[in-house]
Symmetry: C2
Subunit: 473 residues, 2 copies
C-alpha cells in the first residue's frame, strides 16, 4: 500500500472510530459512572490493602511475608469468581537485612548517631563494623577524577539530592537513582571501604530509604557495604565534614544474600467472550521492601489491579478479551516475576494487546503514561472527555511500568497509572511507607480509573490495532 | 452598538489578545518557570505555616491565638519590604468551647463513650448535661413530618453522610452542611432537647468535626445544645438504636458566647507601577477552628497568599496594579473580615479588578474556579497551556471563596484555588487538621500556582475588562 493511501486509510479509520465513539458515548459514560460509583461506595481495594499492610506487612522477595501475600491474594482472587486463578512459579533472590543497622559520626571525640539502612543487595560490614574517614561527592561520576589516592580506605558519601524544582518527582528520583544503584561498585574500584548514599527522598526527615543496588561484575571479595542515610542526617554529615574533614563515620550492618528461592506470580483471569486468546494484563507487584509495610509501593497497585476485575464484573461488563490480573513477584530487587510472565507468554504464543501497571503509589490518579504507537495514542487521547468528570487529565506518551516492560512489542499498548507524585518519595522504600498514609478515596479513584481504561481498551482499543496491522499488510 | 458588531468586536478582541499572548508567550513561560522554581527551592510558605500551626496553634476568632497570628503575620509581611502593611480593625464574635465535651450511649445498663464536640455557636448543655432518648433522622427536613409528638424531649440525631460517589468532596460537603448549620434551630421548634449531627467527614474515624451553626431568630430561651459526633460513633449510635430504640444519649458541653471583640484583617500591599488605583487581592483566612491547629483550614491559604507577593518580588515581577495580600479574620463563624474589607473598599471607592482566595487546603493544586463573565473566562482559559507543565488543568466557572465574595461586582474577576479535594474533609474542622498533614511541596505548588495567575491577571486580565467595558459603552 502506498503512503498516501495509507494516510487516507488512517484518516478513514479515525473518522470511523470517532463516529463509533459518538454512537457509543452515552453508554460508555454510563459504564464509567457505574465503575467509579462502585469503587467509591463498594470497593474492596482498601480492605485488601489493610490486610496486606497491617496483617502481613513488608513483603521482601523470598521472605515468609511474601509467601503469605501470595497465598492471601490467591484466596481473595478465588473468592471473586474469576474464570481461572493460578500461581506461576518463579525463582527469586533472597536478601535479608538482619539486625537493625547502626551508624554514627565521630568528630572531636563526640559521637553523633545517624539513621541509616542497608541498601538492598549490599554485603554486610565486617564483624564490628566499618570506621573510616569520609569523602563527600555529589555523584559517583566524580570518583574517577578524585582517583584512588583520595578515596582508598575511606567511606564515600554520595550526597546528591532530588531536584525540588522538578514537578514530576519521578524525574527527580531518576536523576539520582543510579547513585544508589551503582555507587558502591564504582567506589570499590578506587579502594573505598563503604558507601553512604543520601536517601532518595523528596523530604527532609529522619527516615533512611532503601532500594536496590548492584555490584555489577565486581568480584565478591571487592564488594563493599552500602547504606542509605536519612536526608536530615545527610545534611548533618555534610555540615560536620565542612567543619572537620577528618571526622570518622562508623556503620555496622549484618545483611546477607542467600540462594534463590521459589516464589510465585499470582494470576487471575476473566476469560474473554469474543476473543479469549487476546490478553489484557493489569497488575502491580506483590513484593515490597522490608522497612515499612509496602502500602504505597506497591500494595496499592496490587489491590487496585485485583479490584479492576471485580469492578468490571460488578459493573456488568462482559469483557470481549481475556483480562488478567497479574501480581508480580520481585519487582524491587530482580524483576524476576515480570520477566517470567513475559517468558511464559511468549513460549505459549499468547497474544497480549494491552498491559497496565499501577506502581506509583495509591495517591489521587491524574492519568496515564502510554508506551505505544502514535496512531494508537491518538485513539486513546480521544477518550479524554470520558475521564474529565473524574478529573483525569494526564494522557502522555512515556514509560509504563517495570513489570510489564518485558511484554513490550510492536503490537502491544503498555500503560502506567500516574497518580499525583508529590508525596510518593516521602514514603518510597522507607519505614513510613505504611497503610495510614494511603487515603481510601484516592486508592479507590485509582482502581476505578484503571478499570475505566481497561474497559475502553477491551471494547475499542485492539480493534484499532488489528486494523492498523491490516493497513500495514 | 448592535449585537453583531459587538460579536465582531469581541472576536477581534480575542484574536488580538491571543496574538499578544503568542508574542509574549516565551517571557510568560519564563516567569512561570521562575515562580515555580523559586517556590519549590526557596519558598517561605512552609516555614510560616510551621510557626502558625505549631508555635501559635488553633486561631478561633476572638482568642489570644488569633491575636498572636495577627501580630506574627503583620511582622512577617513587614519583613518582605512591601510598600504598605497595616491592620484593618473588625469586630468579631467570641465563642469559647470550654471544657472538653463528654458523651455516652446508655443502653441496657451499659455505658459506651462516644466522641463529640460542640458545634461553633452552640449553647452549653445545662449543668450536669443532657440525657434523653434519641430520634434518628437523615436530614432536618424530616423533622416536620415527625412532628412535636415524636420529637419533644428527645435528642435529634441527624445522621446524614457525605455521598462518597461525588468526585468533588466539596459537593458532598455541600449536600450536608445545612444539617449542621440549621439542624438545631429546626429541632428546637419541635421541642428537642439537643441535636447530635454526624460529622461532615469523608472518612470513617473517631474525630468529631466542628463548624458553624446558627439558631437563626430562635429566642435565647429556646436554644438547644448541638454537637457533632465522629463518623465511627455515628455508625455506632445508629446501630445501637436499631437494637434498642429506647436507649439514652448523654452529653455535656460548657461552651459560651461572649460579646464581640475587636480583631483585625492583616493587609500588605505592593503598589502598582502603572495603575496603582486598581487593586488585586489574594488572600486566605487567619482564623481557624480550635480543635486542630488549622494548618489546612486555612493556615495554608494564609501562607500561600503571603508568599504570592514575595514570589512576585523574588521572580523580578513589577506589578502594574496594586497587589494586596489580605489575611481575613473570622471566616469560620461570621465572615466579618471579608465583609469589613469589602465595606472599606467600597467606602474608599477602590477599584478592585481581581480577587483570588485559597481556602480549600494545602493539597496539590489542580486549578481554579472562576466567578466572572464569559468573555473574561474565555480569556483566562487561553492561559491553560502556560500551566500545563505544572499539571494545572482545572479551569472552570463556579464559586470562588467566602472572604472575597463580598467584593463581587460586574467588574471583578473572583477566583478560588482548587487543590485536590480528596483528603480535605478528613481533616476539616477537626483535631487532625494539623501541620504534619500538609505536604511541603504541595503547599509550595499551590503558592506558585496562585502567583502565576496573579502575574497573568496583572499583566493581561484587566485590559480585557477595560476593553469589554468600552464595547458596552
Amino acid at each position: 500500500m502506498n503512503k498516501s493511501l495509507k494516510i487516507v486509510s488512517r484518516i478513514t479509520l479515525i473518522i470511523f472510530f470517532t463516529f463509533s465513539l459518538i454512537v457509543n458515548a452515552q453508554s460508555d459514560e454510563d459504564v464509567l459512572k457505574t465503575v467509579y460509583k462502585t469503587s467509591l461506595t463498594n470497593g474492596k481495594s482498601y480492605e485488601w490493602l489493610d490486610y496486606l499492610s497491617n496483617t502481613i506487612g513488608g513483603r521482601l522477595s523470598g521472605s515468609t511475608n511474601a509467601e503469605l501475600a501470595v497465598q492471601y491474594t490467591k484466596v481473595e482472587l478465588e473468592k471473586l469468581g474469576l474464570d481461572k486463578v493460578w500461581l506461576q512459579p518463579v525463582m527469586v533472590p533472597k536478601w535479608v537485612r538482619g539486625e537493625k543497622e547502626m551508624a554514627y559520626i565521630e568528630a572531636n571525640g563526640t559521637i553523633n548517631k545517624v539513621n541509616i539502612c542497608a541498601l538492598g543487595g549490599s554485603v554486610a560490614t565486617p564483624n564490628g563494623g566499618v570506621k573510616a574517614q569520609v569523602i563527600e561527592v555529589d555523584t559517583y561520576k566524580d570518583l574517577e577524577a578524585l582517583g584512588e589516592e583520595k578515596i582508598k580506605g575511606k567511606i564515600v558519601f554520595i550526597n546528591r539530592a532530588l531536584q525540588p524544582e522538578l514537578i514530576n518527582t519521578f524525574q527527580a528520583y531518576g536523576g539520582c537513582s543510579s547513585e544508589r544503584y551503582a555507587g558502591a561498585a564504582e567506589a570499590a574500584k578506587y579502594g573505598a571501604v563503604g558507601t553512604i548514599v543520601r536517601s532518595l527522598s523528596s523530604r527532609q526527615d529522619d527516615y533512611p530509604h532503601t532500594g536496590s543496588m548492584s555490584y555489577g561484575d565486581l568480584p565478591v571479595e571487592q564488594r563493599i557495604p552500602s547504606a542509605a542515610i536519612s536526608t536530615n542526617d545527610a545534611v548533618k554529615l555534610s555540615e560536620a565534614l565542612k567543619k572537620n574533614k577528618n571526622l570518622e563515620f562508623y556503620f555496622e550492618m549484618s545483611c546477607q544474600q542467600f540462594d534463590d528461592v521459589e516464589s510465585y506470580n499470582v494470576i487471575g483471569e476473566l476469560t474473554g467472550s469474543e476473543f479469549p486468546n487476546e490478553y489484557i494484563v493489569v497488575g502491580g507487584h506483590l513484593d515490597s521492601w522490608d522497612l515499612g509495610d509496602g502500602a504505597h509501593d506497591d500494595g496499592a497497585g496490587v489491590v487496585q489491579s485485583m479490584d479492576v476485575l471485580r469492578l468490571l464484573k460488578e459493573s456488568g461488563v462482559t469483557p470481549k478479551r481475556s483480562i488478567r490480573v497479574v501480581l508480580f513477584m520481585n519487582e524491587e530487587n530482580g524483576l524476576r516475576g515480570g520477566r517470567k510472565y513475559a517468558e511464559v507468554a511468549k513460549a505459549k504464543n499468547e497474544k497480549h494487546v494491552f498491559a497496565l501497571e499501577s506502581d506509583a503509589g495509591g495517591f489521587t490518579p491524574r492519568g496515564f503514561s502510554f508506551d505505544c504507537s502514535d496512531v494508537m495514542f491518538s485513539k486513546i487521547e480521544a477518550w479524554r472527555p470520558l475521564f474529565k468528570p473524574y478529573l483525569i487529565h494526564y494522557f502522555e506518551k512515556g514509560g509504563s511500568g517495570a513489570d510489564i516492560g518485558p511484554l513490550k512489542s510492536d503490537d502491544i499498548v503498555l500503560a502506567g497509572l500516574r497518580p499525583d507524585s508529590q508525596r510518593y518519595f516521602d514514603h518510597h522504600h522507607a519505614a513510613n511507607d505504611t497503610f495510614e498514609h494511603v487515603n481510601k478515596r484516592e486508592l479507590e479513584l485509582g482502581a476505578a480509573t484503571m478499570t475505566a481504561l481497561v474497559f475502553l481498551m477491551d471494547k475499542y482499543g485492539t480493534e484499532t490495532i488489528t486494523n492498523t496491522k491490516e493497513i500495514k499488510d
